[in-house]
């Protein structure tokens, strides 16, 4: 069966008002139900891609086509949990429905279901400050799921968490994905996370942001902890790492002759001063 396209980014460029080219001529077609990870060095425009898909940022050139789904059916999970500290877990999760004008009573079931999905039953009336980092992220995910989205955009959602929490949330996310069959775009700088989760890893390079490799991960789901130690997994991680090393190398050639992230940063500061 040939899956229908969820959306297509075609020849997308993004130039910021200060003249920085964040994205140059980027093409990306994502099918419905795909789990796509975007990896790349800092500043390669991974987050910019998500923002453009979400309609939060305008593109300077190019087009975004939606297939069967629509932009309205998407949800966004930010790098930080971005919860409202004055509201309980329940009220935070309810927010998207409240903004859509759904009454409290009508949203009750959906809120309860979303909280159950992320395994936070019993914490409905807790405030964000009473929760751990991992639990806050779960609330953030529940808030994204409450609208029953078809496309889930995740911007380094587990970047700030410890390894144990991250790996638990990874496998929980995969469970949910296999139940709900969302299209997921997952931004990360962690190769192992990207390979474990995705059926496709897109490697980007910086300055200007562009796609340099598109690696399908042909390993069957469900993927358990065994998969993380398998030879296949390691081979894929090596492929992505190679592509990424190439991406960092070319990025440095463009910006500065010295092959290191730190030095290209200092050149940037130097030009400002």
């Amino acid at each position: 069966m040939n899956p229908s396209p969820a959306f297509t980014l075609s020849n997308v460029s993004k130039v910021y008002s200060n003249g920085t080219t964040a994205l140059h001529d980027l093409n990306l077609a994502v099918s419905e139900g795909q789990f796509v990870s975007l990896v790349g060095p800092s500043g390669c425009g991974k987050s910019t891609v998500l923002r453009i898909i979400a309609g939060l940022g305008k593109m300077s050139a190019g087009d975004l086509f939606w297939g069967g789904t629509s932009q309205r059916k998407l949800a966004y999970v930010f790098q930080e949990a971005a919860l409202m500290p004055w509201a309980t877990v329940q009220e935070n999760v309810r927010l998207p429905l409240k903004l859509a004008g759904v009454s409290r009573r009508a949203s009750e079931a959906a809120v309860r279901e979303a909280i159950a999905l992320v395994e936070l039953k019993g914490f409905e009336n807790a405030y964000p400050r009473e929760l751990s980092g991992g639990m806050k992220m779960r609330v953030s995910i529940a808030r994204a799921l409450v609208t029953k989205p078809q496309v889930l955009l995740m911007d380094e959602p587990f970047g700030a968490l410890d390894e144990m929490t991250r790996s638990k949330l990874n496998s929980d996310l995969l469970d949910l994905w296999s139940q709900k069959q969302w299209t997921v775009i997952f931004v990360t700088h962690n190769i192992y996370e990207a390979v474990y989760l995705s059926n496709r890893v897109v490697v980007m390079a910086a300055r200007p942001g562009r796609v340099v490799a598109d690696i399908p991960i042909d390993a069957p789901y469900p993927r358990d902890q065994e998969f993380r130690t398998s030879a296949l997994y390691n081979a894929y991680c090596r492929d992505v790492a190679h592509a990424l090393a190439g991406a960092v190398g070319t990025a440095s050639e463009v910006s500065s002759p010295i092959n290191s992230q730190a030095s290209s940063t200092s050149t940037m500061f130097g030009s400002v001063a």
Partner: protein
């Protein structure tokens, strides 16, 4: 639950941890070091004052003993209490107007950058003009517009409002502009209208700043009311604490002057405590300023 401890909070984390260790009975805070220590200092101070006055024989029109002040306060209670009431009325009305106007103008400022750019400097000018200098003008103008006894009251309210208004405006404007950027994006993503963004996001975010402004303004409203009455001087039948202080000093009734002064200060402290309790109560679930920590 109202949180009395935090009114007397110090920066010392140890003291706070010690407080938390105790069972939180309603009277426990009376025995906490935060209360006991300043009360001891106060009592010691009063004792030295009393003894000093008695032993040195300083005449009461220069420095009355605390006992004499207390005695005067009780004897003149019939005149001092209505004066306190008048000052309190001016303070509360001015404070209320300052809260409403400060909040509304701050909201207006954050709706349009141009409005903020155009008008904020004038709010600053209003704040930096010494109230003592413009109070006579205000009293003069108000007398032209409001005839009779009410004019002094209105003039005092206007003076107190001018002083109390700015901290609320500037704090709330700052608060409305410091909303979490991710949350703004989230509201945008879910297509929130400006009204929803204001009501569900910007106003709650600004709450701690707004409440901080209230605490400053409460005291300033009282100072404004007292200063205005000093300038307004005599005239009118309803007089406040400032008038009592002024008259007592003219008549060399220094114990009575001290009594009125004490009541003014007490009122200021009371306003601060009430606003702090209200702020801690409203922020108790989420803001660092009101959250009790064990470490």
């Amino acid at each position: 639950m109202l949180n009395f401890d935090s009114v007397f909070r110090r920066d010392s984390a140890d003291a706070e941890a010690a407080l938390l260790a105790k069972p939180r009975s309603p009277l426990a805070w009376l025995r906490s070091p935060e209360v006991v220590a300043p009360v001891c200092v106060g009592l010691l101070f009063l004792l030295v004052w009393e003894l000093g006055v008695r032993l040195s024989g300083v005449p009461p029109y220069l420095l009355p003993a605390p006992s004499a002040v207390l005695q005067t306060m009780i004897e003149d209670w019939g005149e001092l209490l209505p004066a306190l009431w008048v000052t309190l009325q001016v303070t509360i009305v001015a404070f209320g107007v300052a809260v409403v106007s400060g909040l509304l103008i701050a909201i207006l400022f954050t709706q349009s950058r141009w409005v903020e750019r155009s008008f904020f400097p004038y709010a600053v000018i209003l704040q930096t003009t010494p109230i003592v200098a413009i109070a006579p003008l205000i009293i003069l103008w108000v007398r032209q517009i409001v005839p009779g006894d009410g004019s002094t009251f209105v003039a005092m309210v206007i003076c107190a409002w001018i002083v109390a208004f700015f901290p609320i405006l500037s704090n709330t404007t700052l608060g409305l502009n410091s909303t979490d950027h991710n949350l703004i994006n989230l509201f945008q993503l879910y297509r929130a209208n400006p009204w929803q963004t204001l009501l569900y996001l910007r106003l709650p975010s600004a709450m701690p700043y707004f409440l901080g402004g209230l605490r400053i303004s409460g005291g300033l409203a009282l100072i404004g009311a007292v200063v205005a009455e000093f300038v307004a001087g005599t005239g009118g039948t309803r007089t406040g604490l400032a008038y009592q202080i002024l008259m007592s000093s003219f008549n060399l009734q220094i114990p009575r002057m001290f009594a009125a002064l004490l009541m003014t200060t007490g009122l200021g402290v009371l306003i601060f405590v009430v606003l702090t309790l209200a702020s801690d109560f409203l922020l108790r679930h989420w803001h660092e300023s009101a959250v009790q920590r064990e470490n």
